[in-house]
Symmetry: C2
Subunit: 396 residues, 2 copies
């Protein structure tokens, strides 16, 4: 069993990942500075239901399962705070026994500002996204270089790094033949927001560190995640996953289901042909676990495309429409002017074999999954705030 | 004639660019926060001779030529300071008449921490390089988007963004055929230091802004510059170009000539086959001027490789050796353990036609040029501090 640090452990994916790995016997420490909670407070965004802070959740997890998830509330843009996780000087906010677990075998790095619209609200939010995402990543690389070169870093990237190129999207790398000579390069990247661009930059930085310091990194190019529960989150209300349905932090399918429930027309931007790769949150759990137990090699930047199937926005809207209608909701679909600058019809053919080869068994998006999500979200119907669903943050 | 902002106007290239453009009738404003001077003070690095601050130099320029170069001392990582250059709220530290010149036609962006070894001294200097370079670039893009979308941005990139790939290096872009389909992409990039990686990231960010906000940008991938004087710098001692010969800010040829003069063996790292593109500082002046008067088009990211010829480190050392010996210096060449992580022998075939097509007439590196540099540097022989030439800042 491994000792695993989860950076950004308070988020939509961070907390369920912590439980998933803890339940499988790993020693888990979660770290977060509640940056996303602060943004939500500033912008008057509420999740579908409130979730307790990490210490409360970890305590509850321990009461129920007897397993410990250590909690450290700390801003990892600060070099000393990052180093503290590796040199034993960390102050835990919650743990059973105040004893440093030792150098981590694996670090799962989710500690990034994850919203494209937030990154484009204004110059300040753009700068915050750049500083937060790059300094946390750089501090992590330096701490691992300094204290812990054998640790395996699992970094969450995004399929959005590739954009929507006119060629097949490979898993991270491409062989290029040019004027009779050959080279292997990072697959061409172009982010469609400041947020996505910071993820491209993360990859640039990580690739430098891997080549220079011989680190081992798995970079997971993840598509938009959907879902509201995992095996562990349903054990107790206090262990629930934080679920956003607003324009800033709500991923598209989660948002569409919420909209369907309150008779808010599904907002299709422009032509709706925008196609992306998606995955169920349960598969994020699997992918991370498979990456943990099958680490990258020394001096390897291993890249997987972390998706299980692709849909256009129109296809997603149709799926939600059909299941919603069957369940008796008055679902409407409305095409609105696209606030984003993006191709609305385009070629899209990403490869995603690597994680399947490691043994991930996908949960595909069928009517049953959608029905399950409807049934969960409807419990909190009264909490839904209509005015945060769409504000039309513009790309230009 | 244009109104031109020069960001980073205090540097090795910034100040001579200001004079070069001012002498040709452009209205020039220089901006700097003396960040490099602060680093030099911290690290006890001296240039070959002291140069006055920007206000003194601009005043002298005005006394001699009757032309005005406005001076603003300002930290452009601050959003308000950047905006002030575009909305008329700028406080000038020196100018003839306190009158805002209006929105710039061109912005030349040199305002970056330019040293690879500095960026790799430690986690803090790496973070400072990332924050400074990316926030200034992002603030500039936002200000132009907000106030001045017709302005042409001329950004200094570096040939180091490309690294040393096994294929020919094109000017910024490459057509890729893959599985029977075609796309045009930014040429693959991988920086060989944190500094170089920030320049790769700048390009990522600029390309996002160009595509999304329809800005017009020329990104100049410049090789290491050498030289100690331009047409304007020789007019008066107070107008001299700042010249570094130390490991951190001294570019290789400037450093080698200084070393030769004080009998300090030329420090060839490893095998010395490291090949790069170089140019004379007089040609930097020409390249910038040609880019100013031939701007990029709307929504265009135009990329030029700003070099005039390529040399290996061994070739440069041999050139300095030969001319130095002829001038009576006891030049030695010493191969030392490479503190950097880099290929010491590699394929290198960059294209650099774009600027020649705009009319740049190169000053090639011949014996006369080298002799001229020797004759200038030797005047300041007594100022040379041996202990700052090589400290062996390690890449790993």
């Amino acid at each position: 069993m491994s000792h695993i640090l989860i950076l950004g452990g308070d988020g939509y994916l961070g907390w369920p990942t912590a439980m998933h790995l803890s339940s499988r016997g790993h020693e888990v420490t979660v770290v977060d500075n509640y940056y996303k909670r602060a943004i939500c407070k500033d912008l008057h965004i509420n999740p579908l239901y409130e979730v307790p802070d990490l210490s409360v959740r970890a305590k509850r997890w321990h009461e129920i399962t007897g397993k410990e998830i250590k909690v450290c509330v700390s801003d990892l843009t600060n070099i000393n705070s990052m180093n503290a996780l590796f040199n034993g000087k960390c102050n835990y906010d919650w743990c059973v026994e105040k004893k440093y677990t030792g150098i981590p075998d694996t670090i799962v790095h989710y500690a990034e500002q994850p919203s494209a619209p937030y990154s484009l609200m204004n110059n300040t939010t753009a700068n915050n996204t750049i500083s937060n995402n790059l300094l946390v990543t750089n501090n992590l690389l330096y701490s691992v270089k300094e204290y812990s070169r054998d640790s395996h870093i699992i970094k969450l990237g995004t399929m959005g790094e590739y954009g929507t190129p006119n060629i097949d999207i490979e898993e991270g790398w491409i062989d290029i033949e040019h004027n009779g000579r050959n080279g292997k390069f990072l697959f061409p990247r172009q982010g469609s927001s400041i947020y996505h661009t910071t993820k491209v930059m993360d990859t640039d930085l990580i690739w430098f560190a891997v080549r220079t310091w011989e680190l081992k990194v798995t970079d997971l190019m993840q598509g938009p995640v959907y879902g509201i529960e995992t095996e562990e989150s349903i054990i107790d209300k206090d262990l629930s996953i934080i679920f956003f349905y607003d324009e800033i932090f709500g991923t598209i399918l989660n948002r569409f289901i919420t909209q369907a429930i309150i008779d808010y027309p599904l907002t299709v931007y422009g032509k709706g042909g925008q196609t992306r790769g998606y995955l169920n949150i349960k598969d994020t759990m699997q992918c991370i676990e498979k990456a943990v137990i099958n680490p990258a090699k020394d001096s390897e930047l291993r890249i997987f495309n972390q998706i299980t199937e692709t849909f256009s926005v129109n296809q997603l809207a149709d799926k939600v429409y059909n299941v919603g209608q069957q369940l008796g909701f008055n679902v409407m679909i409305e095409s609105i002017e696209n606030p984003r600058k993006e191709a609305e019809e385009h070629y899209y053919n990403p490869k995603y074999q690597g994680l399947l080869e490691l043994g991930v068994k996908p949960h595909y998006l069928d009517d049953l999954v959608l029905e399950g999500m409807f049934n969960q979200v409807i419990k909190y119907r009264d909490n839904i705030k209509k005015d945060i669903i769409f504000k039309g943050i513009k790309w230009i």
